[in-house]
């Protein structure tokens, strides 16, 4: 499964970066969104993927039954998903504010606002 996911994640990265290199700020947002999803999948995949063995311990037992999926990358990705949402919201609102001030959706026209 991992090679297939690797291909898919590579493609996701390529689309994300292509969108982030566009001058239109709306496309930048879409690129950011694609990138955060791709990064989460990257962490999840490199740790190895396991079918049907969630890291849960059955009631009344002290150890999980058999091999379970690695819980650590899952915990990392879980917070990453929520934070990515927070950061995305921040970026989106920032871009909206920038658009209101500059009145242009072309990033090249915003280049003087930060110098």
């Amino acid at each position: 499964m991992e090679p297939l996911m690797a291909l898919a994640i590579g493609l996701l990265y390529a689309t994300a970066i292509f969108m982030m290199l566009r001058r239109s700020i709306v496309k930048l947002v879409i690129g950011l969104l694609l990138l955060s999803n791709a990064a989460n999948l990257l962490i999840f995949t490199t740790a190895g993927m396991t079918r049907g063995a969630p890291p849960l311990i059955p009631e009344g037992m002290l150890q999980p039954v058999g091999e379970v999926a690695d819980p650590l990358p899952q915990a990392v990705v879980l917070t990453a998903i929520v934070i990515a949402f927070g950061v995305l919201a921040f970026a989106v609102v920032l871009i909206r504010r920038a658009y209101e001030v500059v009145k242009a959706d072309d990033l090249d026209k915003m280049k003087d606002t930060d110098t």
Binding site: P54, L56, E59, L78, T79, V82, F85, G86, A89, V93
Partner: protein, 143 residues
Amino acid sequence: MVKSGTIILNTAARFLMPLQLMFSVFLLLRGHDEPGGGFIAGLVAAGGFTLYLLAFGVRATKQVLRMVDPRDLIGVGLLLGMVSVVPAWFMDQPFLTAQWWTIPVIDFKASTPLIFDIGVYLAVLGSVIGMVMALMEVDKDEP
């Protein structure tokens, strides 16, 4: 942007929000043993409020929230997260060591991780509805 929604949305929102809130508390409390936990529960509750916001608008939602400002929820959440590290100090254990107490009558496991998880829940809930509410309030003001 935010006009009151259709009758179906309104009705659904009115019924779903309390259900979602209850479900979120359920998810929060069982989170240590089954899928769930502070992040998920916070998102479920935030989803409920967002639905309500979309259906009835900001003012009605604020009435439902009464005195609670989402920003206060963020603060309380972070505070709970910080407070949960303190008991370990008194037990003379390293920073953040979990403490467990059993409440005898209802046989409920109270613990610092639970306090911490409630902190996560409130912080996530406050952050999300704070952001959505601010966005919708601004939208309302603009043509």
